[in-house]
Symmetry: C2
Subunit: 373 residues, 2 copies
């Protein structure tokens, strides 16, 4: 079975790591040689996934295609769909996700709870929306925004101009009512072609400068909202006829849940599933697209905490501090094999399992501080 992945970053890498025992042949299309995923296979193609010729040639060699990056132009994906190679997720899903307005509108139509939002064509639209929804409001680029990029918090009318002028260069805009929340939460859901659905536990995600920093799974932590989250997740993947693993980011306020964003791929909030659950999100993604029976998504640990290892400088990656982490029996280190480190770049992560939640969090942070790269 030849599985092609568009993108060669850490997500593709972990898909290979988690599924190589099945003997699949992974083919990676990456913009650069020796990508994190490309290092784990003989079949790395260097090329641009927005070049149709390249996409066609690459997919011609594969039995099935998936992707680790939702920013691949959905129109380009159609050229694969026109060929004989299956691709999951397909162009319809990507089109939906790539435009945040269209994404939220679709969710709203499905009856999924989301915050108030409108498309924005002028500065006046922002002011009008804020009059109804109160300041602050969040102005967003409809496309290509991630890790907080393309978002602008508008606290008062005079700021509307600034925000509008700054973001309009990025393309179409939308405005959202500011969501007050107790916690940001997430889940991952897997669905195969047969329609079998398996949902991972609800986790808390803690962002730091708009980048996911800490993910906390704790047994019973979200017991009161678990059913509601499962219902939301099932509704979304069933109605979209989604195949693969999807990450769902949500806001939690009391017991109220608002869906913030969908990621049509494995997700940073689910890295803990490698050591925390019976079957990782990466394996279930591959099982989903191959229409294999899905693996058990239940937690096998009482608490799992995942912390990202972000670059702290710019330059060639040099790893030190591994020994200290390895002597800690319940901490699992993942290094993505990136040759260059950059401030804020995701270079690896650590998952800690512990019967005591606070100790798991402390250990994760201590381990994080020990590693330098």
């Amino acid at each position: 079975m030849k599985i092609g992945i568009l993108g060669g970053g850490q997500l593709a890498r972990m898909v290979i790591e988690e599924c190589s025992r099945y003997g699949f042949e992974f083919h990676i299309l990456s913009k650069e040689k020796n990508s994190p995923a490309g290092l784990l296979t003989s079949y790395e193609t260097v090329g641009d996934w927005n070049d149709e010729k390249c996409l066609k040639e690459f997919s011609h060699n594969c039995d099935i295609i998936t992707l680790e990056n939702e920013f691949i132009d959905f129109r380009k994906i159609r050229c694969i769909e026109d060929s004989e190679t299956a691709i999951y997720p397909g162009s319809e899903i990507l089109m939906l996700v790539q435009d945040k307005f269209y994404q939220k509108e679709t969710l709203k139509k499905l009856g999924i709870p989301v915050t108030n939002f409108v498309p924005i064509d002028s500065m006046e639209d922002i002011i009008k929306f804020a009059e109804i929804n109160k300041y602050p409001v969040i102005l967003k680029s409809r496309t290509m925004g991630y890790d907080g990029k393309g978002n602008y918090e508008i606290k008062s009318e005079p700021e509307a101009k600034n925000g509008y002028e700054t973001l309009r260069q990025r393309g179409n805009l939308m405005c959202e009512r500011f969501v007050k929340f107790d916690k940001e939460i997430a889940t991952q859901v897997a669905r195969n072609k047969n329609g079998e659905i398996k949902i991972y536990p609800v986790v808390e995600t803690i962002q730091k400068e708009h980048i996911c920093n800490l993910v906390i799974f704790s047994k019973n932590m979200f017991e009161n909202i678990k059913d509601k989250v499962h219902e939301i997740a099932s509704e979304i993947v069933t109605n979209l006829n989604y195949i693969g693993v999807m990450g769902i980011e949500m806001f939690l306020n009391g017991e109220e849940i608002l869906v913030n964003e969908l990621a049509p791929r494995v997700h940073n909030s689910g890295h803990y599933t490698i050591e925390g659950c019976y079957t990782s999100q990466f394996e279930n993604h591959v099982r989903s697209i191959l229409n294999f029976p899905l693996g058990n998504t239940e937690a096998r640990e009482e608490n799992s905490v995942m912390i990202n290892i972000l670059g702290r400088r710019n330059g060639k990656a040099r790893i030190t501090g591994m020994k200290e982490i390895l002597s800690c029996g319940n901490a699992f280190l993942h290094i993505y094999g990136k040759q260059e480190t950059r401030e804020g770049r995701k270079m690896g992560h650590i998952t800690v399992n512990d019967k005591d939640l606070q100790r798991a969090i402390d250990t994760a942070k201590e381990c994080r501080d020990k590693i330098e790269m």
Copy 2:
């Protein structure tokens, strides 16, 4: 860290699978392109490890070298030792293991229990040995024997001639007293450069036509001999100043233990450690040679059963039956990615964890029967 492995078979493959999360760069020297391990890295070199020039060039690109095959001529290994690249195990260990007579003599000198044995230079030597030790005796090639190849059971004097004539073409010979045993057992032991030692549980190994077929770990199964086995394993690796993981095959008769053979590498009897123990033998091998703290070798399951998937025909490998195994939540399938299947060739394995031992064995066999390749 660039880790070179001489050999690209399933053992090297599982080393990569189990350690890729640390971001190491694995370099594979394989006699054929697209070897099982070579498929999991960008750095596969096709070449002959008995060609000194090739060995030197390969090792020059690596920080450290290890091997998955003890049949690499120990004299060739010396050319790596003369360079700046460390290699574990080294030529001394390989020399010891490559000659079964020398291996047993060394063990005997260390006070490790082994069966009676002598070197054989003539047919008369066999008869003389059998007079003292009684028929049957086992005539063995001192070098290059594995999976029963190079062994000849001599049940009576007239057979001595046949055995001698057959095996002498393979080189030097030795004779061993036949060992009656209740069970064949094995363990794996890891030792790093600091001298830290961790020993895996004792398992039963069940051979079929001299090839390891079933490996059974069951909590408490060998509680009565555990200390003795640990003592033997520690003695061996400490006295040989061994660095890496070693497989130790033994015979068990009542409570008497006789060491049969050492494998200076990860071993088929330890494949179950991937899902059965906290740290797999593959990861601990790498930790050992890098002089990292060793991981916990304890079992995390009550029972683990490993069954080999051997080829049943000759030709191109085609896998069917995966779906059935994947729907069985406690069976873990490993396919080695070999392009060609052959009768008796190790193509993969399945590990089953279950609270009930007999059910684990039954499930393993059922799963084995479902897969075709």
